[in-house]
């Protein structure tokens, strides 16, 4: 394979692997934990390196995953003291662990492959040069790591789909049915850590956050179904990865940064144009509802004052705007629409309800 094809393949696989656990983070309102975990896995890697002095050691991987889970546990520990709230606890814990890691790197591991820039940025472009042989195939290491992570995530989500779904949407019920929510929670956090570590080498810590959160958030605007959201997240993640690669290629800039940017663009597009939930669709719906609602309000107002002494005053078209505090033009338009729709009729200076208008008002009042 040509190196640029390999790079894109790695990017797509990493994006897909990140999107899967990201869906559950977004749904469980724990997206900021991806921020914490993706930073602190570095400490695990550094400690593993300082122990073994070997960047290829599996201990680095184990240490990094463990550190991700430890981060979550620490955040919970600090929150549990009741001395600080959860958001502040996250904001306290991960900068400290990350700071330790950065200082350890520059003090003790300065001249090896680990350096702070690649921590933030990843080295996707160089990924094809670091190769391994497996089953007679000559593969980039990052590709292999990404594939294993993706498959592990798919397997875990496949096996525990029911439990994850239940614990995400109704933790109380899940507990009552005997699924331990804590177990599911830590299982998920382990998955996030493994994914963060697997993706870390290739794309760096910040892109991990973008790939875990942006595609699921975009998918969340497109569907209500969990299975569909998982699929859409993977697709959006993969599309952002490829678009990001070409943006980077075209402008000759950081690939990781470009992929993060494109995942943001993908979210932005969904945010604006998602059918039903996008900003544009929402504005159109609200504009429509505004008139519907105003007509309902008008019929209800007429019903309330029907046959009362002040009806002449309250129900004349010219006085409506003063009573309802509507701008005169708006009030006139509402009356026009209501007349046209057969909800009200004019009797001299008085507006009265038609049968249809009365029904609408009664329906409205039952809400």
């Amino acid at each position: 394979m040509a190196p640029e094809v390999e790079v894109q393949l790695i990017a797509v696989i990493v994006a897909a692997a990140c999107a899967l656990p990201g869906v559950f983070l977004v749904l469980r309102r724990m997206a900021m934990l991806s921020d914490a975990i993706s930073h602190t896995v570095l400490l695990g890697i550094v400690l593993g390196y300082l122990l073994t002095r070997d960047l290829g050691s599996p201990l680095l991987f184990v240490g990094a995953v463990a550190m991700g889970v430890v981060t979550v546990a620490l955040v919970e520990l600090v929150t549990g003291t009741g001395l600080v709230r959860e958001d502040a606890a996250i904001g306290l814990v991960f900068p400290v662990l990350f700071s330790i890691a950065v200082i350890l790197i520059s003090r003790f591991a300065g001249n090896v492959h680990l350096d702070v820039d690649s921590v933030l940025l990843g080295e996707l472009v160089f990924a094809p040069f670091d190769r391994v042989r497996l089953l007679g195939l000559d593969l980039p290491r990052a590709l292999l790591v990404g594939l294993v992570t993706l498959l592990a995530n798919l397997l875990l989500i496949g096996l525990f789909y029911k439990e994850l779904k239940l614990a995400t949407f109704d933790a109380g019920l899940a507990a009552a049915l005997g699924f331990a929510p804590a177990l599911v929670h830590y299982g998920l956090m382990t998955m996030v850590s493994i994914t963060a570590v697997g993706a870390f080498d290739a794309v760096g810590s910040i892109l991990v956050i973008a790939l875990m959160v942006a595609p699921p958030a975009a998918a969340y605007l497109l569907t209500d179904r969990l299975a569909r959201m998982l699929l859409l997240s993977v697709l959006i993640g993969a599309a952002s990865a490829i678009a990001g690669y070409w943006l980077a290629y075209w402008l000759d800039v950081s690939v990781a940064g470009a992929m993060a940017t494109m995942s943001g663009v993908a979210f932005g597009l969904c945010y604006l144009f998602a059918p039903g939930r996008g900003l544009v669709a929402g504005a159109a719906r609200r504009a429509h509802q505004r008139w519907e609602f105003a007509q309902q309000m008008l019929t209800l107002h007429l019903l309330n004052h029907e046959g009362t002494a002040e009806a002449i005053e309250e129900c004349s078209p010219s006085r409506l705007s003063a009573h309802l505090r509507w701008p005169p033009a708006f009030a006139a338009e509402v009356v026009r629409r209501a007349e046209q729709g057969g909800l009200v009729q004019r009797r001299g200076e008085l507006l009265t309800l038609t049968e249809r208008g009365r029904r609408l008002a009664q329906e409205a009042s039952l809400r």
Binding site: H301, R325, R367
Partner: protein, 260 residues
């Protein structure tokens, strides 16, 4: 003279869900009024719309004949106790002095006068000995009395209280009732969101029943009837009272009223 509170054609909607539909209401000055209605009936929203905290879709509210923005000095507000973080680093006396912030203007700091007023208000709710206490160390009832004292230092003409009796102890309940009676004796108007139907006739002389629409409003003796309560609560109510005026809600009704 103007009514203390005049609401005309008030409609409020959150997003596209109506919470209050075309409500009309006048409250004469000098009454103690309860607002009652089921959960989600719009009781809190009625107060918030009056205080300009939510924007109505139609209609308006007037305080003594003029819009709220011009009459702020005449109004005091006791929000729901659960609406703030009680672990905030501040003391009881400090919270009560916040009631004076509105009349202090932009740059003036609360001084000795405000301090004395706050202490006097705390005295009224039997909380004077807690003045220096951190607010997280108070019981629910004590927190409620602090909020009440904060409204008292506003020295207003009309008081809006959102569920002041919610989850308080007997001592606090008695203290609040005493404060309400003092306020009435001083000619003030008090509007209270209330959920314990049983105590309405005892504590209040005026009542408004709402359930998204206004069902009825007037003196307790005339308006607090079985027919009106039925219209307000639908079938979800058991009537224990003999004369029809006093009624009691079934247990779960009172319980799910908590957030109304």
């Amino acid at each position: 003279m103007h009514d203390a509170l005049t609401i005309t054609d008030l409609t409020v909607a959150y997003r596209d869900r109506p919470v209050l539909w075309d409500v009309d209401l006048s409250v004469p000055a000098g009454v103690l009024m309860a607002i009652v209605g089921p959960n989600g009936a719009g009781k809190t929203t009625l107060i918030k719309a009056t205080l300009g905290l939510v924007r109505p879709a139609a209609g308006q509210t007037l305080i003594f004949g003029r819009p709220y923005a011009e009459q702020r000095r005449l109004v005091a507000y006791v929000p729901q106790r659960g609406s703030v973080d009680w672990d905030f680093p501040t003391t009881v006396l400090d919270v009560v002095m916040m009631g004076r912030y509105g009349s202090l203007g932009w740059l003036r700091r609360p001084g000795v006068r405000e301090r004395d007023q706050a202490l006097a208000a705390l005295e009224q709710v039997h909380m004077a000995e807690f003045a220096g206490r951190q607010i997280s160390q108070l019981s629910g009832g004590q927190q409620q009395r602090v909020f009440l004292a904060r409204a008292l230092v506003q020295d207003a003409q009309i008081y809006f209280m959102d569920e002041p009796f919610q989850g308080v102890d007997a001592v606090t309940e008695r203290a609040i009732v005493a404060v309400l009676r003092n306020l009435r004796a001083a000619g003030k108007t008090v509007v209270v969101v209330h959920h314990d139907l049983q105590t309405v006739p005892e504590y209040f002389d005026w009542v408004t029943l709402i359930n998204v629409r206004r069902i009825a409003s007037g003196p307790v003796a005339e308006v607090f009837t079985e027919a009106n309560l039925r219209a307000t609560y639908g079938g979800r109510i058991a009537f224990l009272g003999q004369q029809g005026a006093a009624a009691s809600a079934v247990g779960d009704l009172a319980a799910d009223e908590a957030t109304g």
